[in-house]
Symmetry: C2
Subunit: 342 residues, 2 copies
DNA sequence: GTGAAAGCGCTAACAT
DNA sequence: ATGTTAGCGCTTTCAC
């Protein structure tokens, strides 16, 4: 089972607690003793037993990141940053895939289930505000991105409304005037879909464009397939859109596929913009214009906030961070020569 | 710190070990007693303390999945299956991203680092066979996919040579005769690149086609950007290829992007095939023909093999599994009308 | 500056 | 079928 403190103590001819203090530095240790102990540690290859440490301290050193889709590259990229940050702070991060299902999400936030984690970073999708409020606050939770608002938890998410404004304004600046939105109110409580829809409507109004409900296409979820289906519908209309603002890049890519299948051109016939800036959009045909949130920033911040709560650092009120984002223009809006409209 | 066995025992008026046996079922318990204990457990909301259990048993219940790129959808999809299987077997799976770097890979296989995992599923990329052999075999390791061969570990990977045969034969069946391979010998020890290259050469020979070294393009890594760069090179040749077999789907997608940038058509001018069957290829323009390995199968099998080793089930020799794969044809090889060659 | 000892919650060997 | 008990390796008082 590996080398124990006891063996080091015997080897160095000191007591258990002295070795512990050399390892953890809670109390000062005489220089000479420290050297002897350190030698023993090096020779025997000691590594602390985390189970024992955690049994004592009541913590496990594990934090969970619960996301709706592991295979959405946005979350994969985010998770990478979070894992690194957690490791740097001495925590192991495990990922949980909720598939965006209410049942699974409830299991995740119900920490009584298995007390193996010290804290949770959660990207809610299906769960309601009330369900989040009802949660036993024994272990800290940080919310990211989509979902539930106005709850007593740290929350890290881009300003969805502002991001939508930028996206739509970009389309407007290209003289598009039948701008569709794909990803309106999927299921119930997906608040960020509502926010993006709201930003879309506001931006239209700001540009003096009418809101056409037929152009706000709902989807079941936010994957490529959803974008594909929604776009097919849109294209089947008497008056198809001349631009599409998609809930995210995956939806946008599905939509672009539908446009290609229909034999139309992007951006000449239809311009497309998404949100997320996943790598896929930098290599798609055409490449995808998008709103790029700072994923690295979000991942790190979420872990930092969570660890601060776990370690009881600041007993400050929940804080709400809106990480920066920027518009990245590519071919799907700027690529073609737009024919002059009559 | 949560409810403990002791509290349950007191509440139910039985001993510690009886409660333990109700929970774990190691020994039979009287029906009446069991009921009383179960009631106490339900009322007090008992959940076993894993740290304590693991301290006792010497195991942590955590297995690691170390992969070269978290944001390669192939691994994300594989990881999903592995996480589910691990959970079903009572293990928590944590992911480690090695970024395909030798340093990080060595850290991962050096279990002395932190004894937090009971076992490791590892997709080696940069590490050598010798380094794997030198590893302290204290904790079990299962190898998947790419990398190192002929080592005393369970190994799960598709038959790279056979898969390459199928891919190239498909291209040959389309009357292509200048078939390139992108992803030849990247860096040193990437054996599966060698195997796929070898399969490519064998298949060419089998079809009576010459091997042209200029058409076997090396890459630094196996991402979209690598495919893009390699394909640009290929297109700049006096005699560009009329078909491309890419090391994986990501490389294929990068290659397709290069073709699009050059204003050529797929598959009319150049047919493209990859390996992995990631979802991205089902929505790309054009959609990507690919060799589809059974990722679900691989993920589950890897976890099963690892857990069997951990729990010391069969002390059988390392076994080598080659999961099934199949050809999935899409537009990148079958889409266009191929002009009749003179 | 250092040591002794008490447990954290659990499992398993040993009793009954 | 059930109870008793000795630790697993560590942190943390409390002593000196």
């Amino acid at each position: 089972m590996g080398v124990s403190l006891k063996e080091i103590a015997a080897r160095a001819g000191v007591s258990l607690s002295t070795v512990s203090n050399v390892v953890n530095g809670y109390r000062p240790v005489g220089e000479e003793t420290r050297l002897r102990v350190q030698d023993a540690i090096d020779e025997l290859g000691y590594a602390p037993n985390l189970s024992a440490r955690h049994l004592r301290s009541g913590r496990t050193g594990i934090v969970a990141l619960a996301i709706p889709e592991l295979d959405n590259p946005y979350f994969a990229e985010l998770a990478g940053a979070a894992i690194r940050e957690a490791a740097g702070l001495g925590y192991t991060l495990v990922m949980e895939d909720t598939a965006g299902e209410r049942e699974r999400e409830l299991m995740v936030i119900d920490n009584s289930r298995r007390q193996i984690v010290d804290g949770l970073i959660f990207s809610p999708v299906a769960v309601t505000r009330e369900e989040v409020l009802a949660r036993d606050p024994a272990t800290p939770m940080v919310l990211i991105g989509e979902g539930v608002y106005d709850v007593p938890h740290d929350h890290i998410a881009i300003d969805n409304i502002a991001a939508s404004h930028v996206a739509v304004q970009h389309l407007v600046s290209l003289d598009r005037y039948r701008i569709a939105f794909i990803g309106a109110q999927a299921g119930d409580h997906r608040q960020s879909a509502h926010l993006r829809l709201r930003g879309y409507r506001e931006a239209l109004a700001g540009a003096g464009l009418p809101f056409d409900a037929a152009l706000a296409a709902p989807t079941m979820a936010f994957g490529r397939a959803d974008g594909l289906l929604a776009m097919r519908d849109l294209l089947a209309r008497r008056q198809p859109p001349d631009a599409v603002f998609a809930y995210n890049d995956l939806v946008a890519i599905g939509a672009m596929r539908a446009v290609a299948e229909a034999g139309m051109r992007i951006p000449d016939d239809i311009a497309v913009i998404g949100i997320d800036d996943i790598e896929e959009g930098r290599f798609s045909n055409p490449t995808l214009t998008t709103i790029s949130p700072d994923k690295e920033h979000i991942g790190r911040l979420a872990v930092q906030a969570l660890v601060a709560r776990i370690e009881g650092k600041p007993v400050q009120p929940p804080y709400d961070v809106q990480p920066p984002f920027r518009l990245v223009t590519r071919e799907s809006t700027l690529g073609g020569r737009r024919p002059v409209r009559p």
